[in-house]
């Protein structure tokens, strides 16, 4: 076997309270695509951040082109020839493609004047090398996400990168764009680039990768040739246990109808119909951008809808503001804790009661004793790991933040709980605790909508599943009839009629 161009061995990295990496290893070979697999929280991103110098390692060795290297800053690793394309692209929409590619290292002449023509020419050549049809003087903001990703790859090439790391590159891409990305990856392979490919999508691993490295709970599990393994074996390596254990399921008779959505349309949502019952977990599957979050926000009152109606227990709702949704008994837990889910600079307590302060106030103001009591009850009930209720929530782990977010919704005493990607960025242990909580709410008769891109999760705990594609419901399945292939087919809009379950 060739010797690797990049070899990372025995990396340890601890954060207060967590050992994120524990003897993690990764080898990258020139002209090969190495898949880096693992569940959320397995340490993939942390390992990449250690490699590119965003975090400093506690222990371990990074060897690049035969020499031990210490990268203290992302720019250092980039100049050495290791580029990373993050899940969230780091481009400035208001600048042109060329300006983005050469940001921070513009070619300048006398008196610092930028040599525009030279820069655009070079950028055009890079784009041509990747077969991109755009001119480099176009604004990045006008490009699609897939095209922007290509710009990131062009940027990586402009550094003469020998190793390119792609973190979940296809998450936001359409099928055509994904196909195109694979073509580019093959070209990069031909040009002897070493590629690290991080993805959750098993299919892609078998399609584009040569080798695979699996991490679990920060530990190196195994390196294997993709040709030698199959999906089941890969899942086993990643999860380290059988799937059934991860998704506890409880059975309970279905209650009355609670929510009825009829012909609901609005921005990114077209003619959506569904019903929800007491004590039911309704999974909503689909790809990113399918309109799931928009639909949920319309039901909650955070986004306007243009036509259709929403009925709660037979009564028509007229909701235009989240406060009205809350009043009607609908609670929505955002998919994006950082952006619109939590106030990260406030304490656990202040976040948890933000929607429900009306229950803790009298004419004189907030009744602290009642508030603290309620918060402490939930900290205990949800097993939230925080030293005190006064802890700033931004300092807690993702799983504990999510539990606070769910408690925040429950404190409003809802009948309908909408959980949008409740386990995103949550570690494996906390995930299971969250599933157990969701099951408990179901037992208590709450109606639950679970929006999730994680198909095993949707299949694991839902009673019924809706799939969305481009703003429409493209499939509805009872859990007994659902499987990953059917959901995926509906999610991408290829709907063989026999998959649609009419009932």
């Amino acid at each position: 076997m060739d010797s690797p161009i990049l070899s990372i061995t025995g990396i340890d990295k601890s954060f207060p309270g967590v050992k994120a990496l524990d003897n993690a290893c990764l080898n990258v070979y020139s002209g090969k695509v190495m898949a880096l697999m693992g569940e959320n929280g397995a340490g993939k991103s942390t390992l990449m951040k250690v490699l590119t110098g965003i975090y400093t390692k506690d222990k371990g060795r990074i060897e690049f082109e035969g020499k031990e290297q210490y990268f203290t800053h992302p720019r250092a690793s980039q100049h050495a020839g290791i580029s990373i394309i993050h899940q969230e692209l780091n481009l400035i929409p208001e600048l042109t493609i060329a300006e983005n590619i050469f940001l921070g290292r513009e070619k300048t002449g006398l008196l610092g004047k930028i040599k525009w023509s030279e820069m655009y020419k070079e950028a055009d050549e890079l784009l041509a090398r990747l077969n991109i049809k755009h001119k480099s003087n176009q604004l990045v903001g006008a490009l699609s996400i897939g095209e922007q990703q290509m710009v990131e790859i062009a940027k990586a090439l402009s550094f003469d990168s020998k190793v390119i790391i792609m973190d979940e590159p296809t998450d936001a891409l359409t099928d055509t764009e994904t196909e195109y990305l694979f073509k580019v990856i093959n070209e990069l392979k031909a040009q002897n680039c070493g590629i690290v490919y991080i993805s959750h999508r098993l299919k892609e691993i078998f399609e584009i990768c040569d080798k695979v490295t699996v991490l679990r709970d920060g530990k190196f599990i195994q390196q294997a040739e993709v040709a030698d393994i199959d999906e089941d074996r890969l899942i086993e390596m990643m999860v380290g246990r059988r799937l059934e254990e991860q998704y506890p399921r409880i059975e309970r008779p279905l209650g009355d109808k609670t929510l009825e959505v009829a012909h609901l349309s609005g921005k990114a949502v077209h003619d959506v119909n569904f019903t929800l019952h007491e004590g039911e977990i309704l999974g909503i599957s689909g790809l990113m951008g399918a309109g799931r979050t928009e639909l949920m926000k319309m039901i909650y009152g955070a986004l306007p809808y243009t036509s259709g109606e929403i009925k709660l227990k037979g009564k028509k709702l007229d909701i235009h503001h989240p406060s009205q949704g809350l009043k009607a008994g609908i609670a929505y837990i955002s998919e994006d804790r950082k952006k619109d889910g939590l106030v990260l600079d406030l304490s656990v307590k202040e976040n948890m009661t933000l929607c429900s302060l009306n229950y803790f106030t009298n004419a004189w103001g907030i009744k602290y004793k009642d508030e603290i009591q309620a918060v402490e009850d939930y900290i205990q009930l949800f097993n939230i790991k925080t030293p005190t209720y006064n802890k700033i929530i931004g300092e807690l782990s993702g799983g504990n933040q999510q539990k606070v977010a769910i408690a925040k919704g429950l404190l409003t005493r809802p009948n309908i709980l909408i959980l949008d990607e409740p386990t995103r960025g949550v570690d494996v242990g906390a995930k299971k605790e969250i599933y157990e909580l969701i099951n408990k709410f179901k037992q208590d008769g709450l109606s639950i909508i679970l929006v999730s891109s994680d198909m095993p999760e949707v299949l694991g705990i839902s009673d019924r599943i809706l799939v969305m594609h481009e703003g429409e419901i493209s499939g509805e399945f009872d859990i007994k009839d659902a499987n990953q292939e059917k959901l995926m087919a509906c999610a991408v809009g290829k709907v063989p009629t026999q998959y649609i379950d009419n009932h």
């Binding site: 406060s323 009205q324 809350l326 619109d340 106030v343 202040e350 933000l354 103001g365």
Partner: protein, 316 residues
């Protein structure tokens, strides 16, 4: 428990502006024995009260990640109206109430432009600052308005020059304002929402809170407090100056920043602002006592503000 809390480093960092104030007082008292006398301190507190009262409103606005540049102009316009009303021999209480309500209205209009109009607070309040100053100039014709020599004017003068239990009235007003603001921020839903909006406006909105109403309330409070400051200034001078309050917005912002409130919103305490205002007030007085020219005083003030901000950023 109590002991370890006092000694902990975090606690010390949190009280750094208070510690700075105490050190300032100790050093200057050592150099000049006239500094820390009852009369001088009472004098400093009275002088500080106008800035401190405005700074309370500024703190609340800044906590929502906003800014209010119009406070000085509201002070001048409300002061001018108050002087006119006293000149017309309206009862003092009526004059004060109308003036305060006027300040609240002016503030809520700015707040409306910021929240519903989605205009950046800096721009909206800059417009209000220039506009209201212009209106003040037109209204006063550029000349001071005297409150007159009536009995009503004499009783109105109590707000600026009177004494209560041995202390100047403005100090009592300042104390009440700070106590009220502390209660509002830490014991009411409104206060909680102020912090939440400053921390993450989107999340607060999605939590079902009417953020437009909170924002309008915040600017209305800044307006009321500016009008209150206008009453004190007008009362003390027995006349309203058309240029009164010019530049006060910057003094107020300085007090807020020295007091440790973040201009990004979401974190800070109103008691920090009190200490910030006092540091600036004590420093000015100390430099006066030490015969430092007012030109150097500006430089000293700038250095203090810079130091406060640097220490604040370092400790985060």
């Amino acid at each position: 428990m109590f002991n370890s809390k006092i000694l902990s480093k975090a606690w010390l960092m949190e009280q750094k502006s208070l510690i700075a104030l105490i050190i300032l007082i100790m050093v200057v008292s050592f150099i000049n024995p006239h500094f820390f006398t009852f009369n001088n301190v009472s004098n400093i507190l009275r002088q500080t009260s106008v800035n401190a009262i405005i700074a309370v409103g500024m703190t609340i606005v800044i906590l929502t990640a906003g800014i209010d540049l119009s406070v000085g102009s509201i002070l001048a316009l409300c002061g001018a109206f108050a002087a006119s009303m006293i000149g017309l021999e309206l009862p003092v209480l009526v004059t004060v109430l109308i003036t305060l309500v006027g300040g609240a209205l002016l503030g809520s209009v700015t707040g409306f432009v910021v929240s519903k109009g989605k205009v950046q607070p800096f721009i909206a309040t800059l417009v209000a600052m220039v506009l209201l100053r212009g209106i003040t100039m037109v209204y006063t014709d550029g000349r001071p308005i005297s409150t007159g020599f009536t009995d009503v004017a004499d009783s109105f003068a109590w707000f600026g020059t009177g004494y209560l239990f041995g202390l100047p009235v403005p100090i009592w007003i300042m104390a009440v304002v700070f106590a009220g603001a502390w209660y509002l921020l830490h014991h009411t839903r409104f206060g909680r929402y102020v912090y939440a909006i400053g921390g993450n406006e989107e999340a607060t909105k999605l939590s079902g809170i009417n953020i437009d109403r909170v924002k309008m309330g915040v600017y209305a409070i800044a307006g009321v407090l500016s009008a209150l400051a206008g009453i004190i200034v007008t009362s003390r001078l027995s006349s309203a100056q058309p240029t009164a309050g010019a530049g006060y917005e910057l003094d107020a912002i300085a007090a807020v920043v020295v007091g440790g409130t973040s201009l990004m919103g979401g974190s800070g305490r109103v008691m920090g602002t009190l200490i910030g205002a006092l540091i600036i007030g004590f420093l000015n007085n100390a430099l006066n006592l030490l015969d430092v020219s007012s030109y150097y005083q500006m430089i000293a003030k700038a250095i203090v503000i810079l130091l406060a901000v640097l220490v604040d950023t370092k400790s985060k």
